[in-house]
Amino acid sequence: MSKLWLVAKNTYQQKLRSSTFLLLTFGLPLIMVVAGAIPILTELRAEIPEVGYVDQTGEMGVLTEIDLEEEKLALVHFPDQQAGLSALEAGEIGGLFILPADYFQGASPRYLSNSEPSEKLKEALGKAVRTGLLSGAPAWQVERLEDPAKFTYLAQSTGKRVSEGPAVIIRVAIPVFLAMVFVLAIFTGANQMGSVMVQEKDQRAMEMVITSISPRALVSGKVLGMTLLSITQVGVWILGAGLAVFLFFREDLIGQAISIPWNALLWAGLLCVPAYFLFALMGAGLGVIAGDITQARQLAGMLGFVGMGPLYFMGMIVNAVDGPLAVGLTLFPFTAPTIGLFRMALTEVPTWQLVVSFLILLGSLLFSIWFVARVFRATMLLYGQKLKPAEILRAVSESGLSFAGREKEN
């Protein structure tokens, strides 16, 4: 096993056991699931009260109940608002629904109650209005109007029928989802690189380690280890998200031919992996320049903003998905994966743009490895001291420079 892989493996194993990693990997999605599940559970447990209604339009038929999927909404008709309010005050009904006389002119129906109506009740009241107003119509007409338009989705570029419902959402959402995961991975993973480098220096084992391995291999090993860690983390998240989507849409998805956007997945791999390395290397470089962990985290925060940068341009990209800004950001290494994938969800991105973007990314990556290793070599024995901009330039321009004895200059 090469020394670079040894460093990567050691970094990976050490960080994998850390509480921060475990909390972020499993805790964060758990919190999100719990936060998302609470309203759903509340809704599921909400009981539908008996509701009184007043039809001031005179167009609704008399209704006593509305059939829902698993429950029924019991309705009590009142001839006027006063009678309904009396019943509400007496506690005979849980709420009073009023369809105003000028409803057909655009006025909104009113619902009086001491508690907020649940989504289930709102849906039931909507059905009650439809059923009441169409009381003379055949059942099929009422049923069709409950879901008046079932769309067929066609791919703009090929004209092929894609699928319907959740399947098409998945197809369009995958590139966007991957772009979002990439941004998240930068926030949680690449941002930690700076701290990792500062810690490596702070442990004061550097002088021993550096007589065993070259600075370039050490930096590359650290970045590789952290990247593998991020891949693990993102893998857990994607697996969790995929499972959640499957469980949630299981019934809708069964029997559907789901169209997996393999092209987007391939380019996601080709753009995201080197771009992640690039961000991680930048993070490592900032850690090398920073004097301590606090400064490293502050600088890493700036890196996070760069990672999020493409999100600020999304509006403009949607309006001109093949415009110069969109193409420029697809080629720019720090925005290439996010914008590239986002555009792939909206349009057919020309292959040459993706290939050029990939090559620029690789070039930037090689330059970064050289740059960071050079600065690292110059500063690896500086403890708790921040590097000045002029010193960064000196470190890059002078081969084998070390500021290890900088205190003697001052």
Partner: protein, 311 residues
Amino acid sequence: MGEKNVFLKIDSVAKSFGDVQAVKGVSFQVHGGEIFGLLGPNGAGKTTLIRSALDIIKPSSGEIEILGGEMSEGKKSRIGYLPEERGLYDDMTLWNTLIYLGRLKGLNQKTAQERSEQYLRELDLWEARERKIQALSRGMTQKAQFIAGVMHEPDLIIIDEPFSGLDPVNTRLIKKLLYRMRDRGAGIIMSTHQMVQVEEMCSRILLINQGEGVLYGDLQEIRSRFTSNAVEVDMAGEVDQVQGVEQMTPRNGGYHMVLSEGVRPEDVLQRLVSNPDLTVERYERVEISLDDIFVQVVGGEKLNGSGEEAV
């Protein structure tokens, strides 16, 4: 010793940091099978020299040959280093730390495990192997770092203050290992302020001061150059003044006498013996310690004798 046995050759090496010249054209050689003492006061340039030799920093001028040529990645596995700056990975266990550092030095997993066990047992750390580094005492960490520096059994070992923080028992254990490595043929450079250890262990030394080599060569030969011009005398009887004695100080029930320049100790002894009021019980020439030489040279006092030129 022949050129073939030269494990480290430093030739006119100088290093500047900005306007400050930390090392000024120092030259020396270290051979296989010897323990070489690198001495000097704080800030003399010892660490800069060591870091230059190990290619951690580049010298401003001069040439360095290590294990027969320029430093290369391949040679790193043949060099052991215990730096002045102490530190290991706090969150790792002692065992994992040694395996990791041993493997970085080119050992395979099995050998790294075998050597770790061997050295941990020898240095009485075996029971602490599953403890995290941060939970070890200073002395234990010191020993752990020593193991990490030598477990790959390198040809050239550079150790900076190997005995600091160690009790006499552990000092003996480390010494025993160093002797074993020397006997195996390794060249060992020991940088320390503990002159007693240097006198006991080193065959040759380099003393640097303010970046310049001021004493270099065989330790016994250097000591012989710094002959003391003082004697210790135990005697019965009273005497106020002795001819040829510049200064006479009572010490430990006897006298410490500093002789005048050009006066031989045997002349003074003859005068004392020939005095009927005195009975000389002990007359001993004071042998100068390396500690005294260090203070004398670094303190800028006149060197006694011509000796070897500063390097």
